[in-house]
């Protein structure tokens, strides 16, 4: 969002985009939303198939471990933990130790990820997505190609702090890359190709690359067909493989920059009739950042 007055409508806009794209992905749906950063605090989105059992008293239990205030907001199968900055690793370790079936969906100062198996409209309703506000967000609907249809296999995938990734396409070298990244100590949860893409970016950034550089190098190291959208605390980026067969449409107005797999996803956005609508070029990294305002622009990072 360029225009902060639209921020309360972010959830509503994303929900409409998501439901319109149901045909493209009826298996599962997810949303990453960037909102509500608090100084000195950080967030963790967790998920459980048994929320009542897993989340009951969790905040109090975690407070003892991290030694600070832990706030918890439960939303259906998900909960947002707000923990003191710098306690992410401690919290993750504590959750693993509790072994209560809790899975970490995301971590970061402003990022929250909600995703589940099911039709986009049902997933949106489950989490009340349309009421959410935020500075920017990414939604995804999935038609699984090879890996299982599960909550953890749904997009977006959280990569590093405040980073997430969604993907349309099919990677052809993800198995060997997954083995390599696991040997490098990167945690990869599923057999999903997209998660490997996400883990790859995390790994490159751990090795000192910027997100833009990591995306550039993904063009060399990832094989197959992909259109990626990545989210960061400040904005979002888009990159397509050099063949660029999978669709991608961008729209920009004075109020926002939007991405969709099809124009159809964008039709209900305000002022779309007069938006600049175009398709990202193959093998080119685009990035939009709130820090670049007032004139957002595309650039090869």
């Amino acid at each position: 969002m360029k225009d902060p007055s639209l921020e309360p409508k972010l959830g509503e806009m994303l929900t409409s985009m998501l439901i319109t794209m149901t045909d493209r992905g009826p298996d599962s749906a997810g949303i990453a939303i960037y909102s509500g950063e608090t100084k000195g605090r950080t967030k963790m989105t967790i998920q459980s198939d048994d929320p009542e059992g897993s989340f009951g008293g969790l905040d109090a239990a975690l407070e003892k471990v991290v030694g600070g205030t832990v706030k918890m907001r439960v939303k259906s199968t998900h909960a947002i933990l707000e923990i003191p900055a710098g306690t992410t690793a401690k919290t993750r370790a504590a959750l693993a130790e509790m072994a209560s079936g809790i899975r970490v969906m995301s971590r970061g100062d402003s990022l929250e990820i909600y995703k589940e198996v099911g039709l986009p409209k049902d997933v949106a309703a489950q989490f009340d997505l349309s009421k959410m506000s935020g500075s920017h967000g990414i939604g995804h609907t999935r038609m699984a190609t090879e890996s299982a249809v599960t909550t953890m296999g749904a997009h977006p995938f959280n990569t590093g702090d405040d980073q997430c990734l969604v993907h349309n396409g099919s990677l052809s070298n993800h198995n060997s890359l997954r083995r390599k990244l696991r040997r490098e100590g990167i945690h990869i949860e599923t057999e999903n190709d997209t998660e490997v893409g996400a883990a790859y970016l995390t790994w490159q950034m751990q090795n000192g690359m910027s997100l833009g550089q990591a995306l550039e190098s993904s063009l060399d190291d990832l094989d197959g067909f992909f259109t990626f959208v990545v989210g960061t605390k400040d904005g979002f980026g888009v990159v397509r493989d050099p063949i660029a067969c999978k669709p991608a449409v961008m729209a920009e107005t004075d109020q926002y920059v939007a991405f969709g797999s099809e124009y159809r996803a964008l039709v209900d956005l305000p002022g779309i009739e007069n938006a600049r609508v175009w398709e990202p070029e193959p093998a080119t990294v685009y990035f939009w950042s709130h820090n670049d305002t007032p004139t957002t622009h595309e650039k090869a990072a």
Partner: protein, 227 residues
């Protein structure tokens, strides 16, 4: 003028209504409102009717068109006018990838820019683009004419056969077996005619012609790197 509100009657009813005109062409002018990027709008037409779509369309608008004139007052999604046989399709805005793919005949006019793979595997269609076109355009293009008033992206005319490619601006790169060709008077004539039909004011002399170098027409091991 008959007006169809796509949102209220739905895709099937709309196309059924348009297809029924093939037999009874009393109603020749149709307007479709609220397209909202829907797919397969006005595909498979086979009658000399004129359809105007007020807004942007999704995949395969005017697919396999015969005889009809389809005007899109907006941008068009992937595969617009794919496999067109005859008639005319005019896109006022931009076209997504695969515009005019495998078209056998007729005229496709794109007033804005066309994305990648414009005219892929074209088989006789004429395509006139007022703006720029994306990468891999005219890939394996067999016959027909592709006219680009702006610039062309990477790998123009890769593995093309006998299609004629005319570009006024820059070509980022040529594809395998595609080369610059001489503009002869007959090509100027073809161009002049197509620009006129498309309603675009441009001087044919400013264009450069590209086409097949015909080196890949019969296999030769010395060209193996191109495969």
């Amino acid at each position: 003028m008959q007006i169809i509100d796509l949102e209220s009657i739905g895709l099937r009813e709309m196309n059924k209504t348009l297809h029924a005109q093939a037999e009874t062409t009393n109603q020749t002018a149709w307007e479709i409102v609220n397209p909202k990027g829907a797919h397969a709008i006005a595909c498979g037409l086979d009658a000399p009717i004129e359809v105007t779509v007020k807004g942007s369309t999704g995949y395969y608008c005017a697919g396999m068109n015969q005889q009809a004139t389809v005007n899109i007052h907006g941008s068009a999604g992937p595969g617009t006018a794919e496999n067109m046989m005859s008639g005319k399709v005019v896109i006022e805005g931009d076209a997504s990838q695969y515009a005019g793919a495998t078209g056998h005949g007729g005229l496709l006019v794109i007033k804005g820019n066309a994305s990648s793979r414009c005219g892929i595997s074209m088989k006789g269609i004429n395509i006139v683009v007022q703006g720029n076109i994306g990468h891999m355009s005219a890939f394996m293009a067999q016959s027909g004419n592709l006219v680009v008033c702006g610039d062309a992206g990477d790998a123009l005319g890769d593995s093309c056969y006998e299609a004629r490619l005319f570009v006024r601006g820059e070509v980022k790169s040529l594809g395998a077996d595609c080369e610059k060709k001489e503009m002869r008077p007959e090509h100027i004539e073809i161009l002049k005619d197509l620009l006129e039909q498309a309603g675009i004011d441009a001087a044919p002399e400013e264009f450069t012609r590209y086409g097949s170098a015909r080196n890949l027409y019969n296999f030769d091991v010395d060209n193996a790197a191109a495969y």
